[in-house]
Amino acid sequence: MLFWQILIDGFAISALYALGATGFTLIFGVSGVLNLSHGAIMVGAAVAAWAAASEFGVGPYTGALIGILAGFILAFATYFIAVRPIQRSKAIAESEKEIFILTATLLWGIITQEAIAYLFTNNAKTVLPIVEGVTTVFGVRTPRNEYFTAVICWVAIGLLWFLVNRTRRGKSVMAASMNPRGVTLLGIELSSIYLTVWAIYGLLAGVAGILLGMFLGVSSYSVGPLTASAFSIVVLGGLGSVSGSLIAAYVVGYLETGTAYLISPAYRTIPALLLLVVVMYLRPQGLFGRR
């Protein structure tokens, strides 16, 4: 009973972590950007879906679409406001661009978070679920929404895999993550690849945010923890490795769920943090990372 409960809950949470972390790692793999406004984009999409569905009464489907649109807009805003000006700046030395992008995306995340808090208050918001009701599997009563979350996450990840491996556009994105200069020599505009990646990222982060809002609820306070969890999953799996992030998301998700059920919810995040420290000492490039 407890075993199935952990298995099912852990699976849904891990799927959500995986989806959230995939976009984050994709951006890093292709353009070397660690986007610290990640949590703000997820929360922004969720709050937009919540406001549209609950406050303006457009229903859960239109609400989710508006949420995805918000994810898109926020991702592009992050790119054009906090990332591109620094990448193109001549006043900032190349070696220092990393810390500047980190600081700028962090600030942009705080700005987004505060704007959400100002417009929609700090209260926790639960997005109107698309699938309602409860179902019992293996004697475990679980909201249907939890299964829905896991399915959507895996469909989205599957679509991403198809896009990257089977389409021309996706293949050029893949190539850019391996060798940006080589792609330029083949006559592909690097800046248009960046735009594609940020669009994919906005979609993934938006969907992940809305699902999180339906599943656990969000508030402007979740921005920091969300960024931190995506960051640690991605580093655990190896920066830039999508499959590594997926595995790491499941490791972290099950460690957290298992600890919460078997020991105490108060210790929830500790084993995952300990694992992260051990991995950082023994294998700094992460489980599946390249240096």
């Binding site: 070696s95 600081t103 700005i111 505060e114 808090a117 931190a228 580093v235 210790y267 943090l273 420290v277």
Partner: protein, 309 residues
């Protein structure tokens, strides 16, 4: 004309110090209390700048060092209050922070860039979890009340904070302009080449961590005995660390003094905009983002640029 520039900066600095010295005669205790906190934060930011600006280590966890210093001092005082002088507690806090700095330095000597950044972030989260879980010792989420304070007089506290900031600022600035600072800068930019020139990179980086940890922990411990409490939200939270990093980058990184200017600016602005409520943080963040995007050298860069023109 570098001499002119430095002398101009020198005069601005001297004027600021004089204003800070005569301030207690004119302003209320409330403003003094605010500036006391700002001065301690300035020391946090300057210590961070020594690590990032010179040693090139992206430390996301300045609050790990601050928190270790603050809580060590606080716990010692709370448990052995009348028997143990607070100055001994403060010294123990600084010492514990140095030990923390060495622990933090070990991964830094192996990994770099975002990987090291994450290690420091994890260090903060672990400390935060430990404080909450070991609530019997640390006061948990409510915070730890310490029975003693340095002084209840706002002016005395102000003088101590100001003196402490000036002394540690002078030491950190002197260190950054010395040969050690140059070697650190070199090893931050190109570790291999600095090593090839015969400098012991490991030794210097370790020294930078120890010095940064010492001042962070000392400032944290002093601040505990100014506030009378130690809590996660004032000393350890990642948000506090973020504010320190923003202060250092905003004021002008690799300058030490800029970090102090940035910290005082951030705390002052936060207070001035307080009537706006939720919008205060928003506006401060927008200002910081604009400065970082358009004036990457920060406030000090703007002043210097003005002097050149």
């Amino acid at each position: 004309m570098p001499n002119f520039v430095t002398s101009r900066l020198f005069w601005i600095g001297a004027l600021t110090v004089i204003v800070a010295l005569v301030l207690p005669t004119y302003v209320s205790g409330y403003v003094l209390g605010l500036l006391t906190v700002a001065y301690y934060t300035a020391v946090f930011a300057m210590s961070w700048d020594l690590l990032f600006g010179f040693a090139g280590e992206v430390n996301f966890g300045p609050t790990f060092l601050i928190g270790v210093g603050a809580y060590t001092a606080g716990i010692l005082d709370a448990h052995f209050s009348p028997g143990l002088s607070i100055w001994l507690c403060i010294a123990a806090g600084a010492l514990a922070a140095v030990v923390g700095g060495v622990v933090l330095a070990l991964p830094a000597l192996r990994v770099s860039g975002p990987y090291f950044g994450l290690t420091t972030l994890v260090a903060v989260l672990m400390l935060q979890n430990f404080i909450v879980v070991a609530a019997g010792l640390t006061g948990g989420e409510i915070g730890l009340a310490v029975p003693d304070v340095i002084s209840i007089d706002a002016k005395t506290n102000y003088w101590i904070a100001l003196g402490f900031m000036l002394v540690s600022g002078a030491i950190l600035f002197g260190l950054s302009r010395s040969a050690i600072g140059l070697i650190l800068q070199a090893s931050g930019q190109d570790k291999i080449q600095a090593g090839a020139l015969g400098f012991n990179v490991t030794k210097h980086k370790l020294a930078a961590f120890v010095v940064s940890a010492f001042f962070s922990g000392l400032a944290g411990a002093l601040m505990v005995f100014y506030m009378g409490t130690a809590s996660v939200s004032t000393f350890v939270d990642v948000g506090v660390g973020v504010q320190i990093i923003i202060a250092a980058v905003l004021g002008g990184r690799r300058t030490v003094i800029g970090a102090a200017i940035g910290a005082i600016f951030l705390i002052g602005m936060g207070e001035l905009l307080r009537p706006l409520g939720e919008l205060a943080t928003l506006i401060v963040s927008v200002i910081a983002l604009v400065v970082i995007l358009f004036f990457p050298d920060g406030f000090l860069g703007i002043i210097r640029g003005g002097a050149k023109a």
